[in-house]
Symmetry: C2
Subunit: 259 residues, 2 copies
């Protein structure tokens, strides 16, 4: 299995603190050694850093850890390969363009005997994950035609598409188009919303703390989603298995059962 | 205007030497300060490093310069903005998926009053360049349907699409799908093919030399394409204005007039 990390905020925020603990899971404190990747939205643009090396000794991860990129939506993934060889084309997150927006997807889980309904989005690599992403995009386009819907309408149609994939196995995923972040939990996924009054957080994977009072303004709001809680002194909310949460502006705006 | 750098090889090769001179043009030895990017194909996969900062002081460029990624096809770009603000979404190269392959495009030039024929590929940013890329992909798909053609057939149909764009202004570009590299010259573009017997090359932008005899095997062949020759002791071949060259396995395999 893999590990997911996502962030959705109301102001551009750097993810260095969370990424620091997350990165350690890529071969150091955990076994996820088969590559990693992270996507940062900045305005309408998106940059994706990918490396088929373990994140704990990836020079690209060292850059990401030390270069504070400020983003309102981030999706990161550390891979433990189940389907598809360890190769760049099988490294999450995956990117496509739909409705003149970049879409980013990362998956933790394993889908057995899943045959995607492929329209105009075709997988480049050989993972079940990228196939599921292409299937979702084709389904969303079939629902909404040529114009991007509002986030809540999009969330509804996405949730309607999930069960036909999720019945093939575990399907925890993060999806973002830069305006919102959707997190679907099939087995394991938690989140935290940090907002005023801010306090001190301590990483679970490394002895590192940050005092968010020194780095935030009163109105800031940041949601962080992860396979396992990244800090050991804050209360994370588990997402119920079979449910999805829509995050907008750092807030858990909507929740749906996807069954 | 901008600067282009491309590489096509018959064995995975690192571009650190060429990139070193090229990077200096992003604000140090030249005026192209409005962002830069580089795409590396590795197998079917592709990773794109983008930075809206000038390449001469971009931490991402420092990484690329010092982390030897071995690739058979590379496309890089340093931007001097003409159309579209300086922003990540307007930073080249651009990426899309077609026929289950990643396609990478970078443009040097300026297109006036160009209205793209947009099908299913939509621009995310506001540059003439990304619009032209989307137009080309829609045209190629209209020509070849749902299956990727052989490189030479693709090259023919691409060359047939170029004039309707190039009549709007200067349209130097690099395009690759990871199997080949196509370079179109509208005003300025040169290339060199390095093969045995290898010798010493000296950068034009920095006092740096490399002895390729120490880094190559007899059968290696590497084509490098750039807006301006990157070395000052080798013979670069200018691509004739209005022509395109198809590079496969480090060789200039075909040439066409695109008029």
């Amino acid at each position: 299995m893999c590990q997911l990390l996502g962030m959705n905020c109301n102001v551009p925020t750097d993810i260095c603190f969370s990424f620091s603990g997350f990165q350690a899971r890529g071969g150091l404190t955990d076994e996820h050694r088969d590559g990693w990747g992270i996507a940062f939205f900045e305005g309408r643009g998106c940059r994706v850093f990918l490396d088929p090396l373990p994140s704990c000794n990836s020079p690209v991860a060292a850059l990401v850890r030390n270069y504070p990129i400020h983003s309102r939506n981030v999706v990161a993934h550390i891979r433990k390969a189940t389907q598809g060889v360890v190769a760049l084309e099988n490294t999450h997150p995956f990117q496509r363009e739909l409705w003149g927006q970049y879409w980013i997807f990362a998956h933790n889980g394993n889908l057995e005997h899943f045959v995607p309904r492929l329209g105009r989005f075709l997988p480049v690599g050989s993972t079940d994950s990228e196939a599921a992403f292409c299937h979702l995009l084709a389904g969303l386009e079939a629902c909404h035609g040529t114009a991007a819907p509002e986030p809540e309408a999009l969330f509804d149609s996405l949730c309607a598409l999930v069960p036909e994939i999720a019945r093939h196995g575990s399907f925890n995923f993060l999806l973002s188009n830069g305006a919102w972040l959707i997190a679907h939990c099939s087995t394991k996924l938690s989140y935290i919303v940090r907002q005023a009054p801010f306090s001190v957080a301590h990483l679970a994977d490394e002895d590192v703390s940050v005092d968010f009072r020194e780095h935030t303004r009163e109105a800031d709001r940041v949601a962080v989603v992860a396979t396992l809680p990244l800090t050991d002194n804050e209360r994370w909310t588990p997402i119920e298995a079979g449910s999805a949460v829509l995050f907008v502006e750092g807030e858990a705006l909507a929740r749906r059962r996807c069954v």
